[in-house]
């Protein structure tokens, strides 16, 4: 030990300079910093060492904050623990070896999964900078949930009007290869070099020939509920989900096509002048290579039938927010007329907030958009029908730019605000005024009184929830999910677009419920992160990885069978196992498992670990 220093902000410029100066002046060959978690500042201090001419791996951090002072209540014990941690680091660093960072080329192509507003936005950002994007969308068209929405708060822009230009741009962009009606099946590789297998599902329509005349859809005899219309309207078995679909190529839904079900029909084939119908079409498997991936797989809508007391699917005219978006949309099933099931115009409408959100019986979290779109509905209802509107809210959350002002504007339009969680929507009435109507029951918590409001329609502001297959997707891409089921970002504040898997980013509602402005911002951020990786052109790979001593390796293969990254393979010529240095993450599983002790974890050698333990036991 040559020198020990105490400084209040060692990570600051002057603090780093102290270390650098000592390294230079005293010719130090090892450094220990006792400070916060290495997750925070290990890169900082490694750079300091490097600048002063010392190999960056010759430093060790003793974490005396997160793992010591923050979690140890007794001050004296915390001090003793800090001393032990510091001693351990000093003992360990003695055995550190200089390691050289290696770089590999970065594939400038990007895979984006999900063609909603997040995926489209990120795709355009990257493609506009001149790089190739594969945009994979599961459904027949890009557009996502946003294309289903009527107006957007707080500006009341028409959602389709602002989105369709972006969809068309993405569909026609020379750098975007749009794969609609396709799904990712397999992902291998690592940052800079991913290999992805994509299944392009058979549309039974030849996209090169189809001219989008839609005659096939007119003539098709088989009808089913339209997903785009949230079940409020119908579509044919051969269909494009909506008129502005990108690509404008129909697909045949084999679950409803008469030919696929019964073996006869083929009416679409007969009427197609372009000869584009191809019943013999098969799924295609396409393999692509990319350097990075953005997951923008969106959200799913909570099924309010779980809350029996709200009467969804039991009582007429109880609709979800997404259904209402279609109902109020001028291109929707009613031509934008807000009408009841019997075709009449409602005189009074209740909007119930937090349906499935902020409720530990369903989802703990706030879905973040409902307060605002509920205000938007009030405006649209007032404008189109003049009906009375009652908002049943718990807390109004109007946090974004222009949101509070929107709240004020809608308030001025004469909307009833009832603070209370609805206990039930019922058709059991108690007086003539209620007869034949839906009665919404709650405590008006500001009046401290029970309140019953008879209405004609009830809109349920249903929670956003993770996609049904979020778990499978997380496994496919080897990323984590948070407790609520959404994809987990690397850091909630400082790295909200990256994931724990290097090179894989998230954008939009697959990470957490969010509105359109936040989704777009996150998508742009993910694109920016990827562009910076692309412009670097190469990527540093982990150096603290496993290496196998070929003299000691008996070729038993235990390491290869347990490696979670498939990084170990058999060398047929030399007859021993070897580590793919680009794939190895340095987890140490093989090191522990090797019966011949032939594998060393670099930077985590047995000597280093034993010395560290010895240091702890002062």
């Amino acid at each position: 030990m040559i020198v020990a220093r105490d400084y209040v902000f060692m990570c600051s410029e002057p603090g780093q300079e102290i270390i650098g100066k000592d390294i230079r002046d005293l010719s130090l060959n090892r450094v220990v910093v006792a400070a916060c978690s290495p997750i925070m500042h290990e890169p900082t201090f490694r750079r300091t060492c490097q600048k002063a001419g010392l190999n960056p791996y010759l430093i060790e951090i003793a974490n005396i904050r997160e793992q010591c002072s923050w979690v140890t209540e007794d001050k004296q014990m915390a001090t003793e623990k800090a001393k032990a941690l510091l001693n351990a680091a000093v003992k360990r660093v003695y055995y550190h070896q200089p390691l050289e960072v290696r770089k590999i080329p970065f594939n400038p192509n990007t895979l984006i999964v999900g063609g909603g507003i997040a995926g489209i936005r990120a795709a355009l950002e990257i493609a506009d900078s001149g790089h190739k994007v594969y945009l994979v969308e599961r459904t027949p068209s890009i557009g996502g949930h946003m294309i289903q929405l009527d107006k957007t708060f707080p500006t009341l822009d028409c959602s389709a009007c602002i989105l369709t230009p972006k969809m068309t741009e993405a569909g026609n962009h020379p750098n975007i290869e749009l794969m609609s009606y396709s799904e990712v099946e397999e992902v291998s590789g690592y940052i800079g070099n991913f290999r992805i297998r994509i299944r392009k599902k058979a549309r039974y329509v030849n996209g090169d020939r189809c001219n989008g005349c839609s005659l096939c859809q007119e003539k098709c005899p088989s009808e089913t509920d339209s997903e785009f219309e949230a079940g409020m309207g119908k579509r044919k078995a051969i269909y494009t989900p909506f008129p502005q679909a990108v690509p404008n190529i129909p697909v045949i839904d084999t679950d409803h096509c008469t030919y696929f079900l019964k073996g006869t029909c083929r009416l679409c084939e007969k009427v197609c002048e372009a000869n584009a119908i191809d019943f013999g079409q098969k799924d295609e498997i396409i393999e692509v290579e990319t350097g990075s991936i953005i997951l923008a797989t969106g959200y799913s809508v909570f099924d309010p039938a779980h809350i029996k007391h709200y009467g969804y699917q039991r009582l007429d005219n109880v609709v979800t927010s997404l259904e209402f978006e279609r109902l109020v949309n001028s291109a929707g099933p009613t031509g934008g007329n807000i009408v009841l099931k019997d075709g009449s115009v409602p005189r009074s409408i209740a909007i119930i907030h937090c349906v499935g959100s902020r409720d530990r019986n369903y989802h703990d979290y706030c879905s973040r958009v409902c307060c605002m779109y509920a205000l938007k509905y009030a405006h649209l209802i007032k404008e189109k029908t003049g009906a009375e509107v009652y908002q049943y809210y718990i807390d109004m959350r109007c946090f974004g730019k222009g949101y509070e002002e929107f709240y004020e504007r809608i308030s001025s339009e004469g909307v009833g605000f009832i603070r209370g969680k609805v206990s039930e929507v019922t058709d059991r009435t108690i007086n003539d005024e209620e007869k034949g109507r839906l009665v919404v029951v709650a405590e008006d918590t500001l009046l401290s009184s029970m309140i019953r409001v008879p209405v004609d329609m009830v809109i349920l502001c249903t929670a956003m929830e993770p996609q049904q297959d979020a778990e499978a997707m997380a496994r496919l891409f080897n990323i984590s999910r948070s407790a609520d089921g959404f994809f987990l970002e690397k850091h909630p504040k400082l790295d909200p677009v990256a994931t724990n898997s290097e090179g894989i980013f998230v954008a939009g509602c697959c990470q957490s419920p969010k509105d359109i402005p936040d989704t777009v911002a996150q998508a742009s951020a993910a694109a920016a992160r990827i562009l910076s990786l692309i412009s670097k052109g190469e990527v540093e790979i982990e150096v603290a990885i496993a290496s196998i001593d070929e003299q000691l390796c008996s070729g038993c293969g235990v390491c290869s069978s347990i490696c979670p990254y498939s990084a170990i393979s058999f060398d047929d010529e030399k007859k021993f196992y070897k580590v793919n240095e680009a794939l190895c993450k340095g987890c140490g599983t093989c090191v522990a498992a090797c019966p011949a002790s032939a594998i060393t974890g670099r930077h985590f050698t047995t000597e280093q670990i034993m010395a560290e333990i010895e240091g702890l036991l002062i």
Partner: protein, 386 residues
């Protein structure tokens, strides 16, 4: 707390006491009011549960008022609370503050009942050695070591002649099915459920520990209860105090006997019957199907559902010590239930709880509807058909 026209100041000391008495989960309440909106009291009078939660958070509870004694612990609010606040536990904590610290008066009828249970081991204040008198003429043995089942009728059927019929019917069934069972003698006490909900934790613990040791001494392995209240307490609260025996409700046991062909129906009960889900069987223990299946297996019986059933069942009003307190005419949930049953045109309202039976019998009498509807326990209906 009375409506204040003057400013109030939070009383942290009181809030702390409520926390200590088991009300800590109160802190989670975000004042949405769904508890008020689902509370059956609000069908007959104002009872702003949410406001009590807020008063509790600030330590501004009116311990002198009647509000904290109203809750019938039906558990409807707890089932729907979005923050998982155990409102029944909060009510219990508020009552504990009164009973244990003596800062206000416990309502008279409740105080007398607690005194009775504490002194004699049963709420009616009857002599402990008369506990088995209800079955004197039935040729039933007292439970002794080695008997398979302890049939635990609950103090009410044991001591109150008006609802004795449910226990006597149970004995008839058990005997016909050839079950090896015995009934409790003088050493056994009230299970303590209502005492606990009334806020007297000490008396509850004393009763529970006494029962647990008596059961252990007698080698009790399996208890069949008539009352969902005894069932809930034995099954969910005694284990924490050392209770180590299996508990099942009579309706569940009857279904077992039917399924094993140990009960053979020989007669029809040609009646239209509605089943009333007791809170402590349904909402507390998710037992909805077994009682219905027992009733449906009775030949000739037509089972129909009332408007508020299963998890939405309308409380009879007897839980949480309310069975010992007077409820004003016009505010009785049991009256509403009888009206529902009459509107549905049923001949019989079937019950699975002695408290429900007491309350409904009372409602039928005071409403003078005895010619139109009968209150029968499931055991009576089964007994009539075998």
């Amino acid at each position: 707390m009375e409506k204040n026209s003057h400013p109030v100041t939070p009383l942290k000391e009181v809030a702390d006491i409520i926390n200590e008495e088991g009300g800590a989960i109160l802190k989670l309440c975000y004042q949405c009011g769904i508890c008020t909106a689902v509370c059956p009291w609000n069908t007959v009078r104002d009872f702003i549960v949410r406001r009590i939660m807020h008063q509790g958070q600030l330590g501004l509870i009116d311990f002198e008022g009647e509000d904290i004694w109203l809750c019938a612990t039906c558990n409807s609010c707890v089932k729907r609370c979005p923050r998982g606040v155990e409102i029944v536990d909060i009510m219990r904590a508020l009552r504990r503050v009164v009973t244990e610290l003596g800062i206000a008066r416990v309502p008279d009828s409740l105080r007398i009942t607690i005194k009775n249970i504490s002194g004699t081991g049963n709420p009616l204040g009857e002599a402990p050695d008369k506990r088995a008198d209800w079955a004197k003429d039935l040729d039933v043995k007292l439970y002794s070591e080695g008997t398979e089942i302890l049939y635990f009728p609950c103090c009410i059927p044991e001591y109150d002649a008006s609802v004795r019929r449910m226990a006597r019917a149970a004995v008839n069934i058990l005997k016909k099915a050839g079950v090896d069972f015995g009934i409790p003698g003088s050493k056994v006490n009230c299970c303590g459920e209502s005492v606990r909900k009334a806020g007297d934790e000490k008396v509850f613990e004393r009763l529970a520990r006494s029962n647990i040791s008596v059961f252990a001494e007698m080698g009790v392995k399996k208890v069949v209860t008539s009352s969902p209240h005894c069932y809930h307490t034995f099954k969910n609260e005694y284990p924490g105090l050392g209770g180590d025996f299996e508990t099942i409700h009579l309706s569940q046991y009857l279904l077992e006997l039917i399924r094993e062909n140990r009960l053979i129906f020989t007669r029809e009960v040609n009646k239209k019957v509605a089943y009333h889900d007791p809170c402590y069987l349904g909402r507390y223990n998710d037992i909805y199907e077994e009682p219905r299946q027992v009733l449906e297996s009775i030949p000739g019986l037509e089972l129909i559902e009332l408007p508020d059933c299963r998890e939405n069942s309308l409380c009879c009003g007897g839980g949480g010590g309310r069975i010992w307190m007077e409820t004003k005419s016009g505010e009785r949930f049991s009256d509403i239930r009888i009206e529902q049953a009459l509107a549905a045109g049923v001949d019989i309202l079937a019950v699975a709880c002695p408290y429900c039976m007491l309350n409904f019998d009372d409602s039928v009498t005071t409403m003078d509807k005895g010619d139109f509807i009968e209150i029968r326990s499931i055991s009576e209906l089964v007994s009539a058909a075998i």
